[in-house]
């Protein structure tokens, strides 16, 4: 017993000395030269794999595609360092022939791989031809479908001859999150099977090279190249961080703790609650917006997606009735705790879209009339963004912006007025009827709607779905959520849903062209019921009017003003037809700690890029960040 007591006492005395030997900096790299960033891919199970051209064999946003890869062009989802369009490996924009069957690219000279070999058109030709002759590489299919031949008249020129006209072929090489990355010919030409080659250690075309990595996939460290000037970003000056570490900090609560301890400079995304905690407790932490809603609105549009192959959703009056039963303020509160940026139109309210689409179409939306069958109504309420701000102000105080402009940027503009009477009229006009408290379909069955949500894997969307189900249920529709945790992809792709909270609208963000997602909405790509649908027309909507718009977009150039006009035509059609009910931008709670670094992008002072660090575009941050110490 005495021995036991002595042991307990010794342990007790040892506790105060714990900090002395247990507490240590997060790494042995100089902290004031190291930027620590969350990699949302989490733990990479195949950490030693850097061949990004093999599909999903290893990690991507481990810094690999942000810091070591490069391609012809980048479109920034915000404003860009010196404009939205960035010529990267290309020295100019793509040049097409008249019928879009040939694309010529002029390359920037003086760019070198990290092992000292010069980047030339031979690398481009090699990349293209390897994908054309090898099945199963990440971009094999688009090359095989589009490219007839590729040639290099000189070391700085590449000519692609296409199998059929494609005015958007350059999109394949234009980074919006990622794009086709160039391969080092001198490395891969010695490889027998490019699908079984790990590319470890990777030869880099970006400003950083791999320094070290955890074989367990918890962290990857990149070091600034000594010859950083010989990369495409070299013209913007020396990057601030000497080292960039991409780490897996764990679930949202641990990310918050890590940043409070100044061990995580950039949180990729956390919960709304985590963001509010950091805003209150950490003076050095900031989001994209300095105040509410803090988060960055990504060019992705969470919506209620109908399955148009179900009889009950074929009538637009039904879709509109369901839209008019949604109180977006309640959905905003339930999902993002109010930190949502709403959109009534099928365009994400972010980047340059607010100027290209949301602002110019405001007058049209105010005048838009909907025929309920008994009367015409004007369903648009332009003040909902402001109403959300007013609703939050008593509890959030000064964090809520006051000026009309800031409110629009933060919370969005207007949305549809909840109007149960109009919804009743629309449903009745469509042949539905209410028996007792329950709505029935025209064939006398209960009007039952399942809303598929992703559960804990995407809590914000799940909470939005639950709120919408509750609102529809209060109206007498048998609505409930159906949690598809882990199976959402299969159910969405297979059309196994009534409605689903997801997104089928994703855009460039920084460019008004909508082909990025809209081309896939053409009816030629809609699968029959029961067959797998290819992205992104998850709603399986077929519309001759839409097909006409898409076909016209295909014939005009990317920067042609007609493209914007056609985009606005799509928006009008989508409002009239309501193929999906747009809700809000996918707001990402990226939180940046200014303890060690300054110069992060921000909505107010310097919106030079999307801060969300898993985007390939986030490389722009490295040249703008400067150490504080």
């Amino acid at each position: 017993m005495r021995a036991l007591r002595r042991l307990a006492l010794a342990l007790l005395l040892a506790i105060p000395s714990l900090p002395a030997w247990a507490q240590e900096p997060i790494s042995n790299l100089p902290r004031n030269q190291t930027l620590i960033v969350e990699n949302p891919e989490g733990t990479i199970k195949n950490a030693g794999w850097f061949n990004i051209w093999a599909i999903n064999a290893g990690g991507q946003s481990t810094g690999l595609h942000q810091l070591a890869m490069d391609t012809f062009w980048y479109i920034d989802p915000q404003r860009g360092i010196d404009g939205v369009w960035m010529n990267s490996l290309a020295s100019d924009k793509p040049v097409y022939n008249a019928d879009f069957t040939e694309m010529t690219v002029k390359l920037r000279s003086g760019i070198f791989w990290s092992d000292g070999v010069e980047f030339t058109s031979a690398d481009v030709v090699f990349t293209t031809e390897l994908h054309m002759k090898t099945n199963g590489m990440r971009w094999s299919a688009p090359f095989q479908i589009n490219v007839a031949s590729v040639s290099a008249p000189d070391k700085n020129t590449v000519v692609f001859k296409l199998k059929k006209p494609n005015s958007r072929f350059h999109a394949l090489f234009t980074v919006r999150w990622n794009a086709v990355w160039m391969m080092p010919k001198h490395v891969f030409e010695k490889v027998v099977d490019p699908l079984k080659f790990d590319f470890n250690k990777p030869v880099s075309l970006g400003q950083y090279v791999l320094h070290s990595y955890d074989p367990n996939g918890k962290w990857f460290i990149w070091q600034l190249r000594e010859d950083w000037q010989r990369t495409t970003l070299g013209r913007y000056g020396q990057p601030g961080p000497k080292y960039v570490a991409y780490v897996d900090p764990g679930p949202p609560d641990k990310r918050v703790i890590a940043q409070l301890n100044h061990e995580l400079d950039i949180i990729h995304d956390t919960s709304a609650e985590g963001m509010f905690t950091l805003a209150k407790q950490a003076k050095t932490s900031r989001g994209w917006f300095k105040g509410f809603p803090y988060a960055h609105p990504d060019p992705t549009l969470p919506s209620v997606i109908f399955n148009h192959q179900l009889e009950m959703f074929k009538d637009r009056r039904v879709r509109w009735a369901l839209a008019l039963l949604i109180d977006i303020k309640a959905v905003s509160m339930a999902s993002y705790r109010g930190a949502a940026t709403i959109s009534a139109i099928a365009i994400p309210p972010t980047g340059t879209h607010t100027e290209s689409y949301h602002a110019p179409m405001e007058a049209w939306l105010k005048d838009f009339e909907l025929d309920t069958g008994k009367r015409k109504i004007k369903p648009y309420n332009p003040n909902i963004g402001k109403e959300i701000a007013d609703m939050l102000r008593p509890s959030m105080g000064d964090a809520i912006p006051k000026s009309a402009d800031e409110i629009v940027k933060s919370f969005g503009r207007g949305w549809w007025k909840p109007d149960p009477q109009a919804a009743t009229e629309l449903l009745e006009a469509a042949g539905f009827k209410k028996v007792g408290n329950q709505w029935q379909t025209p064939d006398g069955k209960p009007f039952s709607v399942r809303i598929v949500v992703e559960g804990d894997l995407r809590p914000i969307m799940t909470r939005a779905g639950s709120m919408i189900a509750q609102q529809w249920r209060q109206f007498g529709i048998d609505a409930r959520t159906d949690v598809a945790q882990g199976t959402l992809v299969d159910r969405r792709n297979g059309g196994d849903f009534d409605t689903i909270i997801s997104w089928s609208v994703e855009t460039w963000g920084g460019h008004p062209d909508l082909s990025f997602f809209l081309d896939s909405w053409h009816s030629q790509f809609v699968s029959p019921a029961g067959r797998v649908q290819t992205p992104r027309n998850w709603q399986r909507w077929s519309s001759p009017e839409l097909d006409k718009i898409i076909e016209q977009i295909r014939t005009v150039g990317f920067d042609d003003p007609k493209s914007l006009q056609l985009g606005q035509d799509f928006v009008k059609l989508a409002v009239q037809e309501m193929p999906v009910i747009p809700l809000m931008a996918y707001n990402v709670f990226t939180v940046m700690d200014e303890t060690y670094w300054k110069g992060y992008p921000s909505a107010e002072s310097d919106p030079y890029t999307d801060p969300v660090p898993n985007w390939g575009n986030s490389r722009a941050m490295m040249v703008k960040l400067k150490p504080t110490k």
């Binding site: 195949n46 999903n56 794009a179 367990n216 609560d253 882990g486 992809v489």
Partner: protein, 334 residues
Amino acid sequence: MNAYAIYALKRLFQFVLVVFIGINLAYLITHLTPIDPVEQTVSAATMFGSTSPEAIQMMRQSLRELYGVGGSAFDQYVTFWRRVLVGDFGPSLSAFPTPVSTLIGRALPWTAGLLTVSTIISFTLGNLLGGLAGYYRDSRTLKAAGIVAMAVHPIPYYIIAFVVLIVFGYLWPVLPISGGYRMNTAWGWNTAFALSIITHAILPVASLVLVGIGGWFMGMRSLVSNVVTEDYVTYAELAGVGRGKILRSYVMRNALSPQVTGLAMSLGSIFNGAIITEQVFGYPGLGTLLIQAVHAGDYSLVIGIASVSIVAVSVAVLVIDLLYPLLDPRVKVS
């Protein structure tokens, strides 16, 4: 053939049967899941980029061929067993073409190390303290320890883990809360790496020990309370044998046999425990790998991990079964 050899053969046959049924169940369950690995891969590869629907359809076809997920169910089942019998679970479908065995080999030492250490610590401490508490029933310190053990034991593991995390990671941030070792520390047999591994393991081990110790404590205390009333203990006391010797040689030794059986049974929960521990503490290992594999529909990897755990637990139980008659002469194999 003597009785022990027959007993050992029976146990060996049971072992083979359990492993065979277990692996078949793992195969069946993973193949009944609605998650399609090809769809998951296609979705992950195209969710951000601009890839045309035609190209995606072509990619889908290529991946089906590459992953070898075509063919009849029977052919797939036969191929599977051919591979398993030579210890090959094929390539991981979510980290293609890396073999499943490579991924498991990388993760297993972390899980096995963490959970073996925590199980041994909680088993040893719990039984030691429980034995003392059952023998020295008047000790206030040990009574207090009993109350603490009873209070902590029913608390769900994730609550304990979270409390430990908050206390030592946030309120009094003295210990690392994530990873298996310090970032950028070179692997090797050196003090810095070893210390780094130990400091990173303290919180995960402590949380597992806190939860695990109570069961051993209460079980041992109860067993000892019964043993001390036996005639041979009373006789030893009357004969003037020292209390320490009585406790060590007569009481604890006799009370330990059922606990050893319990230890074998608890090995099964080692692999279950890995999942939550690794998620909460960001600790590397099989738990994280398993969750990733399930979400990706990577059934090769799921079966590989399940098979490893089935074999490991079965081997542990077999070893205990075979040693038991040798350790405890009261157990008659005939």
